[in-house]
Symmetry: C2
Subunit: 351 residues, 2 copies
């Protein structure tokens, strides 16, 4: 576990304004498939402290993940002082129930109907709110990032898989059971590639980090001359190839890596056209690790999108933009959502 130092803009606690400050800070925790990132966030979305840890493997018991989260929270509280923290928000890669208390199913973790909110509240004494990680990231982009001032937004996060979130009238739309926005498992190719979810042809098999790595890997295994650059970066070991490596190679000018990103981008555009048909948003925000490729990904996506948007020429076209907050979006949004939820609850009690 790495403890990053608190940035220099961390405010010193002022005893006089203690109560006001207490409501001002919130902790956000972003639980991904490989990393847990936690941060202390103020009302302006600024990060005052940061702690990272490895996500325990999915074969470990739920309590191990819980222990790791508590350690991250403790580390953050130590940096800013527990009494300044109003709430903890957790963004988890998985299905979170509409009560925002229970992780119903997390494909990359051992959680099945895990009562995470109660467990973390019992161990930290702080109010806790759980949300889907993509919802948290979208909220951060809407409050402080690429979707600032926009009210009807669809966010697509290209990581290992695809996460999605929907902003309607300025609010996160979670669906009837809290499970809306699972765009990655929409089928776009009948009898297509097998997906970890058990189905075939899911969008995330075509437009994600996993797709990028799978294609590169196949070409290195086949000792294809077009993969010479990538192969040399991993000393010929196809298992060592990663998404960021391919993005770096593309930025360095490797033709294959550029082609692979363009192909991911085209599939991204096809899926976005489908989402435009269904949701008719004003803006798409593209985040997640793969989006670090920037225009190498987004330009082919926009082109494929434009050619497929139903009713094109007769309708306003939504913009497709890059997320602004990088991999901090998840915990910034989780923190802000938790602060809002606690404030709402407090107002409810006062009324």
């Amino acid at each position: 576990m790495t403890d990053d130092h608190a940035p220099s803009d961390a405010e010193a606690p002022d005893p006089a304004s203690h109560l006001a400050l207490a409501a001002d800070l919130a902790i956000g925790i972003d639980i991904g498939g490989t990393k847990i990132a936690g941060g202390v966030v103020n009302r302006r979305g600024e990060v005052l402290a940061l702690v990272r840890a490895e996500t325990p493997h999915r074969s470990t018991a739920p309590s191990v993940v819980e222990n790791t989260i508590v350690t991250v929270i403790d580390g953050l509280c130590e940096q800013v002082g527990t009494d300044r923290v109003a709430a903890v928000g957790v963004g988890a890669a998985g299905f979170v129930a509409a009560d925002r208390a229970t992780v119903v199913f997390a494909p990359h973790l051992s959680w099945r109907h895990e009562p995470l909110r109660e467990a973390l509240h019992a161990r930290t004494g702080l109010p806790v709110v759980i949300d889907n990680d993509a919802n948290a990231a979208a909220w951060a982009e809407a409050r402080f990032g690429a979707a600032l001032g926009r009210s009807d937004v669809v966010m697509v996060n290209l990581g290992t898989g695809i996460g999605g979130a929907i902003l309607i009238d300025g609010r996160i739309y979670r669906g009837r059971h809290g499970m809306a926005g699972e765009f990655g498992h929409m089928q776009i190719a009948p009898d297509g590639l097998r997906c970890e979810c058990g189905n075939r042809g899911c969008w995330e098999q075509y437009a994600s980090g996993r797709a990028l790595v799978r294609e590169a890997c196949a070409l290195i295994v086949a000792a294809s001359p077009v993969a010479a650059d990538l192969a040399s970066r991993v000393n010929g070991d196809p298992a060592a190839i990663t998404g960021p490596m391919i993005t770096q190679a593309a930025m360095d000018g490797d033709a294959l890596s550029r082609d692979l990103l363009a192909e991911i981008g085209r599939w991204l555009g096809v899926g976005l056209a489908n989402l435009a048909a269904a949701f008719d948003p004003q803006l798409f925000v593209i985040g997640g690790g793969v989006s670090a490729a920037g225009e190498l990904l987004l330009e082919p996506a926009r082109e494929a999108f434009r050619r497929r948007l139903p009713g094109r020429g007769y309708r306003p076209e939504p913009e497709i933009v890059h997320a602004a907050l990088g991999n901090h979006a998840g915990f910034i949004g989780a923190a802000d959502l938790a602060r809002d939820a606690v404030a709402e609850q407090w107002q409810g009690r006062q009324a």
Copy 2:
């Protein structure tokens, strides 16, 4: 143009309660690709008068369609008395702008940025509201039909193509520009069948009346022995085959017709699983002409849906049910939406 008689439950106008009655009735007009259906509807969703007309061909000028609509409205007003009609609602098969005044694009009509609300208001003197026809039908099902008491619903109408509508928290979700719910043009097969919209592989090429007729037609043209029953129903003329004919043959026990409906049903189920991933509704309502096939369509759809729903086993599964109001849903919903819009406007003025 056919004027149907007013049903026997039509109330006689009572001069004493004139003002109350005036707010009680609304006219709904449903403009489909082949038919225009209009009805006078009371607050309980009951139809007090009914008028039908043929939709003018798309090669005719917008004014011809407008004339036909005005004739239908006049016919309805004559039956119940104009002073009892509070508003006119129009449901149109096409993209309706968010202002609910303009038909931006109607593939089956000659309308392009047609200011229909103003035109109809000028000619009838009545307040007019325009909406998408699937939105109108979904509203009718939510107020008086299969989705009564449900607040998070996705409606899919299988007619010649596919129309869609979304109910969130009990309200129609129209998207940023009024164009949400165009599910028929979501691509589910890359490089798939060519669609009238210009794209390939659109859902409505696989799960609609058009798909049903296309497949039957191909088998009759090929003089396939499996199509003997259908061929005999049209004296061997493939161009004469219609969706209702295939549904009737299936109900009479024709194996091919049952197979064709089951295939449409399976594609319906695949698309519904995609929409469940995106919207997470509590209920799907299936309407439109093809849905007259009932369980011959819905049972294969439910089976395909269950096998593809992401996270199945860990989440509540939305129900898939048949629409309740048949082909009256469009004008009943349009009427009710218009009455609500006028009432809201009136309350706005009073406040």
